[in-house]
């Protein structure tokens, strides 16, 4: 069993940056390591779009938001010399995370227990809970 390909969903939150730190320590010194950095944004609802907003503007907005979200994690991976591939995808976060994990054939998912959602009191965020449910590979939760 090889253990070198990992999926790192990130939203730029403190807990996703700690997940990145853990992943860097885990992969340090493994030459064949490969990280898939993923940011998921919610799909735009029709009612959110005014006649003055073009599809191109929405696309650019998401691209920029996505880049901002992965920036911190990307910098840490680059500094550690770990090759990574970025994915910016729209959809339900947990479903996208599980499907990218399956498509890329990763050995595991490393993520924060809680993201930037509104409820901070939960032990496990709704995204993490759903990922554990949907994913076939082991999920590492970082506080």
């Amino acid at each position: 069993m090889a253990m070198r390909k990992l999926l790192l969903p990130t939203d730029g939150s403190a807990s996703s940056l700690r997940a990145t730190e853990f992943l860097v320590r885990l992969l340090a010194g493994q030459p064949a390591a490969e990280v898939h950095l993923l940011h998921v944004h919610s799909p735009v609802m029709a009612w959110e779009i005014s006649p003055h907003v073009t599809a191109e503007m929405v696309r650019r907005f998401h691209e920029q938001a996505g880049r901002d979200a992965v920036k911190g994690a990307r910098a840490m991976l680059d500094a550690a010399g770990i090759p990574c591939q970025e994915h910016l995808v729209s959809g339900d976060p947990a479903e996208v995370i599980a499907s990218v994990a399956a498509r890329e054939g990763v050995d595991g998912i490393v993520m924060g227990t809680r993201g930037m959602g509104p409820v901070k009191s939960l032990v496990l965020g709704s995204v993490a809970t759903k990922v554990i449910h949907l994913a076939d590979v082991p999920v590492t939760l970082v506080k």
Partner: protein
């Protein structure tokens, strides 16, 4: 050296967690696994009010049996590990030992023996995530 705590209760899910931890340890190198079996069935001594030598021996034998497959798996894989049997409530004991042994992370099954099959997360895994400060990897 990295230290990873892996609780084992003899369930197939726990054994998959051991396999995963072993593979990760071989890849990462410089890693030692801390295999932990927690015996919670302390009814005997609760009734008597104390734990005698015989009870302790039985509980230890139980723990040895539950960890046997995991240990032979690690022996075959040539992965460095320690083994310990502890007594008490599983989640609390797992987190306490992980902290005392300065483990970097915990790798465990999503469900253990006695957890309802349909649950996404068993009660022990859920509680460990709640109590542990270090990363927890859940294996199905």
């Amino acid at each position: 050296m990295r230290k990873v705590l892996v609780p084992v209760d003899g369930s197939p899910v726990a054994e998959r967690a051991v396999e995963f931890a072993a593979a990760r340890a071989s890849c990462a190198g410089d890693t030692k696994l801390m295999l932990l079996n927690v015996q919670q069935n302390l009814e005997h001594w609760r009734k008597r009010g104390l734990l005698n030598e015989q009870d302790l021996k039985e509980l230890r034998a139980h723990g040895e049996a539950e960890a046997a497959n995991a240990r032979s798996l690690l022996d075959r894989a040539g992965v460095l590990y320690d083994f310990e049997i502890a007594f008490g409530r599983p989640a609390e004991v797992i987190v306490r030992v992980a902290r005392e042994q300065k483990c970097d992370s915990i790798v465990m099954g999503t469900r253990g023996l006695g957890d309802v099959e349909s649950l996404i997360l068993g009660s022990t895994a859920y509680k460990v995530i709640q109590l542990a400060q270090m990363p927890v990897t859940l294996v199905k």
